[in-house]
């Protein structure tokens, strides 16, 4: 699994960080998403899928 985030779209909701803290973080001020690892470990993949589904900005994509 390979993950991409679109920082332009991200509204800083932080849903992704709550669901998959090992994969996503947020910037200090604006809360824009920071991708910690673009190839998440198997145990984090379900979390990533859930984050894709709930991200209100449709800013997370699984690209491979």
């Amino acid at each position: 699994m390979k993950v991409e985030v679109d920082k332009e779209k991200c509204c800083g909701a932080g849903q992704c960080v709550m669901i998959a803290p090992d994969v996503f973080d947020q910037g200090d001020g604006d809360g824009v998403v920071i991708l910690l690892r673009d190839t998440p470990a198997p145990e984090h993949r379900d979390g990533v899928r859930e984050a894709v589904a709930v991200c209100p900005a449709a800013a997370i994509a699984i690209v491979g």
Partner: protein
């Protein structure tokens, strides 16, 4: 069957398929468009920073992949709960086993405001955008989130803007007078003519040769304008459920599992009013994140994958010029606001909201990380006295 092809409907459909539901799925949406994201409408789409194509939530390929019978441009006009079928605007009749209402809300209008812009759909915002240009003057009626965002976006296009809010402070009820005043100041700095208080309510609408040309306010002042937009809240889209007997007085009334009094009929997103066991109250949220979470929850619930009630911590944000406001909890109806980090004048802060003896919400500007740390305490409804002891 899912009725309503917005964010909540999409989350329900993807949630059902993603959790292994392989049965037939019908999805009906009144708009001709595939689901798109609404928050950017009053922000980047109005300013032109994003095109309509950039706010799509779902592609035709995705619909095919989901294996759903999607009928766009079709409205459900009524539901027969005993016969388990819905009647469509095109005369069709379709059966259902379970039904999810995801029909959102429609803008409220004001007496006499017929023909004045409102903003809910992509078409609405494109129509408004087509009329905005430097030198023209827009009158925004309503200083809530939508009105203030529209004012900010219009200003950045060089349009002159008058913002009318009959409460003393824009957003005052939603996020408190302190933060609301900061937002009003921000708008004034950007050249918006902000008028507040009971006198700023519209008393009369003016038109010349059929075209809008201004309003008279309750305080007697006349304001000339080339166009106006009414942003005074919204009404849940429930008329199609009238014959079901489901209580729709304040949204589609659901229990703690987002199911209505009719077994197998659920409601999600802006239209849903459900019992939040954490807050011990019936609540309805018009937040983008909730639409996604509630859709996913109901999908799981319908498939028997959860026996927990739906108890999210509400989250919303709003963009005003270069400032992003973010909040967790239910802030409306608070009794006290307290700054715990930064200062409001510096426009970098975290504020807490008390209702009764509990913490009910937290709001931040340019402090996303600090803000998120309060989320758990909002979720727990922490005692205000404990919080004061630690800050």
């Amino acid at each position: 069957m899912v009725v309503g092809a917005g964010a909540a409907g999409l989350a329900t459909v993807t949630g059902l398929r993603g959790n292994g539901f392989e049965g037939p799925l019908t999805w009906i949406g009144a708009e001709a468009e595939l689901p798109y994201d609404r928050p950017p409408l009053s922000k980047e789409v109005l300013t032109g920073a994003r095109t309509p194509d950039q706010i799509r939530l779902c592609s035709p390929e995705k619909v095919a992949e989901l294996g759903v019978d999607l009928r766009l441009g079709t409205t459900v006009t009524s539901v027969d709960v005993d016969g388990r079928k819905v009647m469509l605007s095109d005369g069709g009749v379709l059966p259902f086993g379970s039904l999810v209402a995801a029909t959102g809300v429609t803008p409220r209008t004001l007496p006499g405001s017929e023909g004045v812009h409102t903003v809910r759909t992509l078409d609405d915002v494109m129509a408004l955008r087509a009329e905005l240009s430097p030198g023209r003057r827009l009158i925004v009626i309503g200083g809530g989130f939508l009105g203030t965002e529209l004012a900010a976006a219009a200003r950045s296009l060089g349009t002159e803007v008058v913002l009318l809010e009959p409460e003393p402070v824009p957003l005052g009820l939603a996020i408190g007078a302190e933060v609301g005043t900061m937002v009003a100041d921000l708008h004034r700095e950007h050249g918006v003519d902000v008028r507040t208080g009971p006198g700023a309510a519209v008393a009369r609408w003016h038109a010349s040769r059929g075209a809008f040309d201004g309003v008279t306010l309750r305080d007697g002042s006349a304001i000339a304008g080339d166009l106006a937009v009414v942003a005074v809240g919204s009404v849940p889209a429930t008329s199609w459920l009238a014959a079901t007997g489901i209580d729709c007085a304040a949204g589609v009334r659901c229990d703690e599992f987002c199911e209505t009094a009719v077994p197998g009929v659920y409601a999600v997103g802006d239209v849903s009013s459900w019992y939040h066991t954490g807050f011990g109250a019936q609540i309805r949220l018009e937040h983008r994140t909730n639409a996604g979470e509630q859709g996913l929850y109901v999908a799981r619930r319908m498939l028997g994958l959860t026996s927990e009630p739906f108890t999210p911590v509400p989250y919303f944000w709003s963009d005003q010029y270069d400032l992003k406001i973010q909040a967790y909890g239910v802030l409306r109806g608070h009794d006290e606001v307290r700054v715990v980090d930064g200062t409001i004048v510096d426009r970098e802060f975290v504020v807490l909201y008390r209702r009764g003896s509990r913490l009910v919400g937290v709001l931040g500007v340019r402090r996303a990380r600090a803000l998120r740390q309060w989320r758990a305490q909002v979720a727990a409804g922490a005692a205000w006295s404990d919080i004061l002891a630690t800050t």
